[in-house]
């Protein structure tokens, strides 16, 4: 008996002497427990055991903090501060991700089998990658073009506001954000009226006899602007433009204008000053902006649904259909996971070439 007590004391003493290990251990333990509970690795009575284990860890942590004194508490603090974020991440990212991956490898017994069995069913991934390849390719091309367009439109706009906005800076910036006060859907649907066959834009193009030019550029199809790839890409560009303007503005705004003056003093031309000074300094904003535009645009389904035609559907539309209409949760999960992986790869490559120290 006494040996057990002394062993316990010794163990306690060891722990107290290494409080940072306790902090790290408890953080990982709690995270693991949270995932185990949320992703339903454990069910029923055993989930109670996990909960008790997690509680014990917390008690142990508190004990360590009190027994070890100020020094121990100091070395525990960083892990303590990390814990809320870590547990959040485990509960709302890792656990759902785990469930999604498990679902993507499951198979259904029938259409209304709502509890597919995990069977290492890679067929779902084959379907996702073959049957829906056109939608994947389309999504990334549309999102890519939209990202480039937002840079082309957004950079000069941000530049103007940052350097020429003067006292109207905040007003102009506000105007960029104002469309957000309206619902995303309404903003998208409004284009339906603007680009309608009998609408103002098409009429103007017809009056100017430019229809042929637009058709050659493949912006118009059969004299239509609406329900074309151009309309979908245009919708994406419009809807995500502020996500490009704001980060670029922030990085431009930080630039000390005297740096440009200095470049000019050293006999650089205006364009050289821009290329050598302003542009490199604004790259972090450009980088952040492209990610903020590209990632949601690739998964978007609203623009394709309301501005597109049956030949312009994006992967988001297909995932929605698989999930809600076909009730094919395994394939929908596989598609979502593939989408995530491809986006991650693209972002990693992009970071490698474009990334700046601020963000990478």
């Amino acid at each position: 008996m006494t040996s057990v007590v002394s062993a316990g004391k010794k163990w306690g003493a060891t722990l107290s002497s290494r409080p940072e290990n306790v902090g790290l251990g408890v953080m990982l333990g709690l995270g693991l427990g949270a995932v185990a509970l949320a992703a339903q690795w454990v069910k029923g009575p055993s989930s109670l055991l996990v909960a008790i284990a997690m509680l014990t860890m917390v008690v142990g942590l508190i004990y360590t903090a009190f027994a070890g004194g100020l020094e121990a508490r100091k070395s525990l603090a960083p892990y303590g501060l990390l814990k809320p974020g870590m547990i959040w991440l485990c509960l709302f990212f890792l656990a759902p991700l785990w469930s999604m991956v498990v679902m993507s490898l499951s198979s259904k017994a029938g259409r209304f089998d709502f509890f597919p069995d995990f069977t290492w069913n890679f067929e779902n991934y084959r379907i996702a990658l073959t049957k829906f390849r056109p939608q994947f390719i389309r999504s990334f091309s549309y999102a890519g073009i939209a990202t480039i367009l937002t840079v082309v439109i957004g950079y000069p706009l941000a530049y103007f506001i940052a350097f020429r906005g003067g006292k109207y800076r905040n007003v102009l910036l506000g105007l960029v954000v104002v469309p957000f006060f309206t619902s995303y859907l309404i903003r998208t649907l409004a284009w339906n009226n603007i680009l309608a066959d009998e609408g103002p834009v098409v009429s103007l193009i017809n009056t100017l006899h430019l229809t042929g030019v637009f058709e050659t550029l493949d912006i118009m199809q059969n004299g239509k602007l609406m329900n074309t790839p151009a309309a979908v890409i245009g919708g994406l560009t419009y809807n995500f433009l502020p996500f490009m303007v704001l980060p670029i503005y922030v990085s431009l705004e930080k630039i000390d204008v005297r740096l440009v003056d200095a470049a000019m003093d050293l006999y650089s031309s205006a364009s050289q000053a821009f290329r050598k000074v302003v542009l490199p300094l604004s790259l972090p904003g450009l980088f952040a902006g492209s990610l903020l535009v590209f990632i949601p645009a690739a998964g978007d389904f609203v623009n394709a649904q309301f501005l597109g035609n049956p030949q312009t559907t994006m992967i988001g539309n297909s995932i929605q259909d698989q999930f809600l209409r076909q009730l094919n949760y395994p394939v929908a999960s596989a598609m979502s996971f593939v989408l995530m992986i491809i986006i991650t790869i693209i972002v990693l490559i992009y970071t490698k070439f474009m990334g700046t120290e601020d963000l990478a």
């Binding site: 209304f112 619902s183 339906n192 009226n193 597109g308 559907t313 259909d321 076909q326």
Partner: protein, 394 residues
């Protein structure tokens, strides 16, 4: 109803309904005031008989989840006053598939959801029956059951009308903008006229779109139980899509495209176009000579709900022709209740005009041209949905 509301965002829909509500309500107010004494009398006798048969005393409660803009507030108030049931009425049933996805996690685990009554479209109701997620209605306590329109009784998926009562019904046909077409349209074949290339709209509601095309091919859709029997319709639609004949597949939002002239013609729902025609006389609705599809939304009693008495009182109330007529004058769809036409005439004014509307009260010849889908088996329905998705591009 069903995906009438699918792809239309709630906010847009609300705004559109509001616009219409203004038009409707103007007339309603007057008519409602005139017929109020009659209504109250009817409700009084109504609740008396229900109380006798059900024998339920005390206050009970009921939760009805319906489609947006699908019921007037007056009806709710009158029912509560007459029955003593406190009715919780919400309109979150926006889309059959989405709502199914929402209740699926609980229902599939045998748990009970909050609403007692839902308003799924017939095919979704059939699915709920098949899954055993709904209970048999307390028909003995719903004497007004006898008022159910004959053509809606004895559906293939609920032969003895045990599990559902229709809530409202409607017709899918063809709507066209005569300014764009430049001629009258008559048949389903007109949708495939090359002159309208890129100007044709189809509904994302598979049964209405494919049903109409199949009727154009001379098929009888009520007899179709397998995908193979319907494949001709899918082939025709696929061909039209790849040739660029079809501009887009839409939910409720087709009304905007039609009105704006983006669509020359499209598959459409009668109730929508009735309203649209008032604003834009160029827009017309026809039931093609080959026939139109008829759909209906239902009321089903969800499994696990304990409020059988209140359910009976509520359904009995809605199947009273007086109450049904008031609902019709608000929602302007085909009422499943017999005797509504007569009641509308009695209400006078704009309502009497509604009683003469051939799209609200089709004559026998028109009725004969309408067809509705039967139930599709689980795996067959999956084939239909998949084939349709691959055509719509999803």
């Amino acid at each position: 109803m069903n995906t009438r509301r699918t792809t239309t965002p709630k906010s847009v829909q609300a705004s559109r309904l509001n616009r219409r509500d203004f038009l409707i309500r103007g007339g309603l107010m007057g008519a409602g005031a005139l017929s109020l004494p009659a209504l109250l009398a009817a409700c009084g006798s109504d609740s008396g008989s229900t109380a006798d048969t059900v024998g339920g005393g005390g206050d009970s409660s009921l939760f009805f989840e319906n489609w947006p803009g699908y019921m007037d507030e007056e009806t709710i108030g009158l029912f509560q006053a007459a029955s003593g049931v406190s009715l919780k009425y919400t309109e979150a049933f926006n889309d059959n598939n989405e709502y199914f996805a929402k209740i699926q996690p609980e229902m599939s685990k045998g748990k009970t959801i909050a609403p007692d009554i839902l308003a799924p479209t017939f095919w979704m109701a059939a699915r709920l029956v098949q899954l055993g997620w709904v209970q048999k209605l307390p028909k003995a306590d719903i004497p007004n059951f006898v008022n159910l329109r004959d053509d809606l009784s004895g559906q293939s998926w609920d032969k003895n009308d045990e599990y559902h009562l229709p809530y409202q019904s409607g017709i899918a046909g063809i709507a066209y903008n005569s300014k764009i077409t430049g001629r009258e349209l008559k048949s389903v074949a007109d949708l495939f006229d090359p002159a309208f290339k890129g100007k044709i709209g189809m509904l994302t509601e598979m049964r209405d779109t494919i049903g109409l095309i199949l009727m154009g091919e001379g098929k009888k859709i009520s007899d179709i139980t397998t995908f193979d029997a319907a494949s001709a319709g899918f082939d025709k639609l696929e061909k039209a899509k790849s040739e660029g004949q079809i501009r887009s597949f839409t939910g409720n939002d087709y009304v905007d495209d039609l009105s704006a002239g983006n669509f020359a013609a499209c598959v459409a729902w009668s109730g929508d176009v009735l309203q649209l025609t008032k604003d834009n006389p160029d827009v017309k609705f026809i039931i093609p000579e080959e026939g139109g599809t008829s759909w209906y939304d239902t009321m089903v009693w969800m499994k696990g709900s304990q409020n059988g008495d209140a359910v009976a009182k509520w359904m009995n109330f809605l199947y009273d022709p007086v109450n049904a007529a008031r609902l019709t004058s608000f929602v302007q769809y085909l009422s499943p209740v017999k005797g509504v036409q007569e009641e509308l005439v009695k209400m006078g004014g704009d309502n009497a005009k509604l009683a003469e509307d051939p799209l609200l009260f089709p004559d026998a010849a028109t009725f004969a041209r309408l067809q509705s889908w039967g139930a599709l088996a689980e795996e067959e329905e999956a084939k239909f949905d998949e084939a349709f998705a691959s055509i719509t591009g999803a």
